[in-house]
């Protein structure tokens, strides 16, 4: 019990001591925190941007629509029944029935083959059911499976999945996400180096103190502790600043984005850093700050031995 108490006391001392040291050099501390904040804000902003693109693209009508061309002998009544059954499926959000007549009219108007069509004795076009998948069936693999399944229905001649551009969009998002990960990784290393360098300077500037502490029996853990807290604090404060920067940028962008979306007749609004992303940002800041300090202190502490 007493040991636990002593342990907490020592950590509290080291924590307060390191915060005191940060406050005593406000300019240097603020500069470091600003650099860490901007460095962390960049990947965070990119993640938010990708999230928004995903959100926006899922809002588009039409990605992954499945067109079911029914067999020629299937009439309007049966088509309506098939549509009704499909509507009850979980993966299906909406079923649109395009009758032969409507298809004929649209084709005549849009294709430019109207006269050729008129030369035919009867309407050659089948009834088409357009399936709008629900959100949880959005993924390409699920859609393909759904299309295959629907293609096996008795009334269906052919199930066609217009996936090309969905696949391309997902491929693009995949590329961008990987890019964000790479940039994020590089910037994480940058944060490690920034914190490491600050801590290195702090260690060197307290050389005498470290030497004397070692002489009177301080363990490496004792000497490390305030530097680790200092790194942790800088990382957390940097992450907080990054959070503020990202949210402020989103706030600045929100009005123009709303105007743009309005012009497209959409009510799309930018999503910000959610609770999980905010948490991840803080955790990343804390972890990088601690780790940067740990690496720097570990390297430089051994070099300072009493002589």
């Amino acid at each position: 019990m007493k040991r636990v108490h002593t342990w907490f006391l020592r950590h509290a001392q080291a924590c307060v001591g390191s915060l005191g040291a940060l406050v005593r050099a406000p300019l240097a501390t603020l500069m470091t925190i600003a650099v860490i904040g901007i460095t962390l804000a960049m990947p965070a902003a990119m993640i938010v941007a990708v999230d928004n693109v995903v959100e926006l693209s899922s809002g588009f009508e039409g990605p992954g629509r499945i067109s079911l061309f029914l067999k020629r002998e299937v009439g309007d009544a049966e088509a309506a029944k098939v549509a009704e059954r499909l509507r009850r499926r979980q993966e299906v959000a909406k079923v649109e029935v395009i009758s032969r007549e409507r298809a004929y009219d649209e084709f005549k108007q849009q294709s430019g083959f109207g006269e050729a069509l008129a030369a035919l004795e009867r309407n050659p076009l089948p009834i088409v059911l357009v399936i709008h998948p629900s959100n949880d069936a959005e993924r390409a693999a699920t859609l393909e499976q759904l299309a295959r399944e629907l293609g096996r229905l008795e009334a269906v001649e052919l199930a066609q999945l217009d996936l090309e551009w969905v696949k391309r969009l997902h491929a693009w998002l995949g590329v961008i996400e990987r890019g964000v990960q790479i940039v994020g990784g590089l910037l994480a290393i940058a944060v490690l180096l920034i914190v490491g360098n600050t801590i290195r300077l702090a260690v060197l500037s307290r050389r005498d103190e470290i030497e004397v502490s070692k002489l009177v029996g301080a363990t490496d853990a004792f000497i490390r502790r305030p530097f680790l807290y200092s790194g942790l604090a800088q990382g957390v404060l940097g992450a907080l600043l990054a959070w503020v920067l990202v949210q402020a940028s989103l706030w600045l962008l929100s009005a123009p984005v709303a105007e743009l979306a309005g012009l497209y007749g959409s009510s799309f609004a930018l999503g910000g850093l959610g609770a999980d992303l905010s948490g991840a940002l803080l955790a990343a800041g804390a972890a990088l700050g601690w780790l940067g300090a740990r690496l720097a202190v570990g390297r430089h502490l051994r070099a300072i031995e009493p002589r």
Binding site: S213, L215, G217, E305
Partner: protein, 223 residues
């Protein structure tokens, strides 16, 4: 307390700082280590404090074989020692109180206990009224007394001093000697490296004389 058997110290550059050192310092004994500059006095103290490691031979300090004390055990080993330096090695951004408290803070002693023991140590060296002062505002003799208070605040079994009066005049040196004698009378083992012959003469204690890294004379204390 200290037992050296055929101890050699050769520095990486090939310089032999200590050659075949053999001596024993009993519990509660007080001795001076003397010799001209570069005779190996400081090196000997550094071996005892594990600031340097012997190249050869066996050294026991406080019942511990120095060769078996690994890097992680060094801090705990040093807590049983008190070391006083010629240049005091005080931290100038801290008060006298905080300087003296350092060994206790490092060892994780409780707050109230620290205050009590720091004041007791400062009282012993006659600086109780200067606990709020910064070392830079103190005279050389006062600074050395602060460093002695820091060395003894952890109640060490062994007190080492490297030229403790090197920067002080005769009168102040006498004061410092009296403090060491007082600790000796309270049962602390004391080893002082010095070339201050007057100091040695006045103390009338055992003298170990080093010459070119060898122990040439070992004169017993005079009554």
């Amino acid at each position: 307390m200290i037992q050296f058997g055929q101890v050699f110290k050769r520095y990486p550059n090939g310089y032999d700082a200590l050659k075949n050192i053999n001596f024993t310092l009993g519990n509660g004994e007080m001795a001076f280590l003397t010799g001209h500059s570069g005779a190996g006095k400081s090196t000997l103290l550094k071996l005892i404090a594990l600031i340097e490691r012997p190249s050869r031979g066996q050294a026991l300090v406080n019942h511990k074989n120095l060769a078996r004390v690994n890097r992680w055990q060094v801090p705990y080993f040093r807590r049983a020692l008190g070391i006083v330096f010629q240049d005091y090695k005080l931290l100038h951004d801290r008060t006298v109180f905080d300087n003296v408290a350092l060994p206790l803070v490092v060892a994780g002693v409780a707050h109230a206990e620290i205050a009590r023991r720091v004041r007791a140590a400062l009282d012993k060296v006659g600086l109780l009224n200067r606990e709020r002062a910064y070392p830079i505002t103190l005279s050389g003799g006062e600074q050395q007394r602060v460093s002695i208070a820091r060395a003894v605040v952890g109640k060490p079994m062994l007190l080492l001093a490297d030229e403790p009066t090197g920067n002080l005049d005769a009168e102040l040196s006498q004061e410092i000697l009296d403090i060491f004698l007082d600790f000796h009378h309270h049962g602390v083992t004391v080893l002082i490296a010095t070339h201050d012959l007057q100091l040695i003469a006045r103390a009338r204690k055992r003298v170990l004389h080093l010459e070119h890294g060898e122990l040439t004379h070992d004169t017993a204390a005079r009554a």
